[in-house]
Symmetry: C2
Subunit: 424 residues, 2 copies
């Protein structure tokens, strides 16, 4: 993603549908102080006023598995109906460290590999690269994942001596596709994971950002009855990005190397002790305070942010329909997620990084070429539009510029019919 | 170190010479608020009062290489007479992440390995294990390192097809030995590194904790004229452990994989983007504020802490002399560092984890068996005494108990003569 950051910096006047960052309009540094005070008050109560213990908890080297694991367990119960032992939680430096720890633990031999659904969040390829773990891509589909292909990929992998340890999957409003899995698909995934003996690494950064009038589907972890799901959590979008706190729920039992068993969480903690030792207690305290202030519900805490994202999503979808209605430009279409941060747009021309640069230079609008999420560098006829970071006014201006860009490209490519043009 | 933590928890009434943690007597959670405010005021000035930019810097996803790199560069200039480009600094989650990133970058092939001086800080073995990098041990000596053995180890490694990429070294008050290298040894190390083409990974967590009336020796980085030294820094002891901030200065030029060159810092940042993405800006801000408050001098900021450590060191050395004077107990001796956190004591009997447990249970005193720093599990006739975490009163009580334990062991082992007894 270095190239994308670089383009963003070179064209500061461009409207950016590229940045998947949380909205900044509600940021306030005073909140850090408030959350921190709330957490230290909580510790004062818990330690019966022993200020030495309070100071030690927040200011000293801390427990490798974290200091707010108990509060996170309460959050999972309140928001996700997921009941886990706090001891099965490891608090991490963002979700990315949780992913790294998990892959490092799963990669024991050259045969261990990871299943990913295409298109896939780029952080997964990064973590896998760091631990030298091969990726086995599984075809995506309009429903999120092609289950027949999943079975086929697993079968072929095993035949060739590989050992698929886990499938990385985002069940709710995936990055980049915006797609959520339906209940049937979730249940099928759990069934297939048990049948073919692999884990599900469920990453859930966007799940709480759904339409307020819709009932969210249960996460894979909420449906998990036999500890098939390792749950990766992030407070980057729901807590505070600058605290950089994530976590992993790893309640699986694994070998301890001495003939006994231990929890996967304890195995991850051992790896973490060699990697970052512990997650900054000061930063954990900030997230702990926010959880306490909102009675452990980040759904409640994020009502204002979610209103922004939902309004932006409505505005983006309406603006797309207005500018690229069915007859206006053949080959242009987009999916219609009901939440999250992303919409994917099909265009009738192949999209690479050069085209992004042209879009930035000539039209002052940025977006993300979808080939970055396929890992093969092959240009796709798709772009990702992120709407989390913008105001409705910026979205309007950005869509006007995007329409100019698409019109220009359609004309230069001489596309007339929707798919043929696009895929020539 | 899990075993040591476990023993500490099982014997909370024991006096612990085991914990190498910073002194807690000066901890105050209000300092977190104060430092944070100082840093945000600094940003307000820097951004001409643009509160959006201030909030973005502290609260949003941040720059992978960090947000306080400029302040760290000033700290290095003021405290260490080391002048570096802020762009060569990567701010990390403790020094341990800096170590991991560096080893991950240096380990490119199966032939790449790391030189370490025995005894060695256990975090090095941990990071090396995570990146599957073999360690090549070099003999320590009363002066810190056996340079002839270093040359021999490098020669033999190259002969057998290995590629020693770097030597991990703590030049000032090493953990666990407490030894500092003299100026001649520092210069020799730089010369040998150039001659045999390896880097020096200089870790410096304790350098500023020296006797106030002594002039500190220049760090290896301060003596480095041709970018042979990668400097690993930590604010865990000098800033605030709970912020968990470290950094690495990596001003070397390396290949970028496309036929060009890039700085090692940029290569480390790329790895970091796949590992933790960025170091919590909120935690960096706390350290940034502390640096600003003390005009970038952590030597000045830590005068009160250093007074505690120096007084503890004097008290420990005097107490050891009192209880184990030359004629009192043959085979018992200790080194006499002038700073840092650690003293190493020779005893006339082999020391393993079982003996620590006995010491904890029967005498209520903890310390660290030295074999943990050799990585071979072979019991040594040595223990590490850490004095950073205790008060003089606790040290007195602890030494009384330690004397009981040592007396008991000497009698049980029937040792009479100093070295023979110890090494039989």
């Amino acid at each position: 993603m270095n190239f994308l950051n670089e383009v963003s910096q070179r064209f500061p006047e461009a409207v950016s549908f590229a940045a998947g960052r949380p909205f900044e309009g509600l940021f306030d540094t005073e909140l850090v102080h408030r959350h921190l005070r709330r957490y230290t008050e909580h510790l004062m109560e818990r330690f019966d006023g022993d200020v030495t213990l309070v100071r030690r908890t927040v200011l000293q080297y801390g427990r490798t598995k974290g200091i707010i694991h108990d509060l996170i367990a309460k959050n999972l119960a309140v928001d996700e109906n997921v009941v886990v032992d706090p001891e099965s939680i490891v608090v991490t430096v963002g979700c990315q460290e949780a992913l790294f720890l998990t892959l490092r633990a799963l990669r024991r031999t050259e045969q261990d590999c990871l299943l990913t659904v295409l298109p896939c969040y780029v952080g997964v390829a990064g973590a896998a690269e760091l631990v030298d773990m091969p990726l086995l891509p599984v075809q995506g589909s309009p429903a999120g994942i092609d289950l027949a292909d999943l079975v086929e990929v697993v079968r072929r992998a095993k035949e060739s001596g590989l050992r698929p340890r886990a499938l990385y999957v985002v069940a709710d409003f995936a990055n980049p596709s915006g797609i959520s899995l339906d209940l049937e698909t979730r249940q099928q995934l759990l069934r297939l994971a048990a049948e073919h003996d692999f884990l599900l690494l469920e990453d859930n950064p966007y799940g709480i950002f759904h339409a307020p009038d819709t009932e969210p589907l249960p996460t894979l972890k909420a449906l998990d009855r036999d500890r098939r799901v390792v749950y990766l959590g992030s407070f980057a979008k729901t807590g505070l990005p600058g605290a950089r706190i994530g976590y992993v729920v790893a309640d699986q039992l694994v070998g301890d190397g001495n003939g006994g068993t231990q929890s996967l969480a304890d195995q991850l903690a051992k790896i973490k002790s060699m990697l970052t030792v512990n997650t900054p207690p000061v930063a954990q305290a900030v997230i702990g305070g926010k959880l306490l202030e909102h009675d452990f519900s980040l759904r409640a805490a994020n009502a204002p942010e979610n209103a922004v994202y939902q309004e932006n999503l409505r505005h983006l979808l309406a603006g797309l329909a207005e500018r690229f209605g069915p007859d206006r430009r053949p080959g242009v279409s987009w999916n219609v997620p009901t939440g999250g941060f992303f919409v994917v747009m099909d265009v009738p021309f192949p999209v690479d990084d050069e085209l992004l640069e042209l879009s930035a230079r000539r039209h002052r609008v940025l977006w993300t070429p979808m080939h970055h999420f396929y890992g093969d560098g092959e240009p796709r006829h798709q772009i990702r539009l992120s709407f989390s970071y913008l105001t409705p006014e910026q979205i309007t201006v950005g869509l006007d510029r995007l329409a100019e860009f698409v019109d220009e490209q359609c004309e230069e490519n001489g596309t007339t019919a929707p798919n043929q043009g696009g895929h020539l």
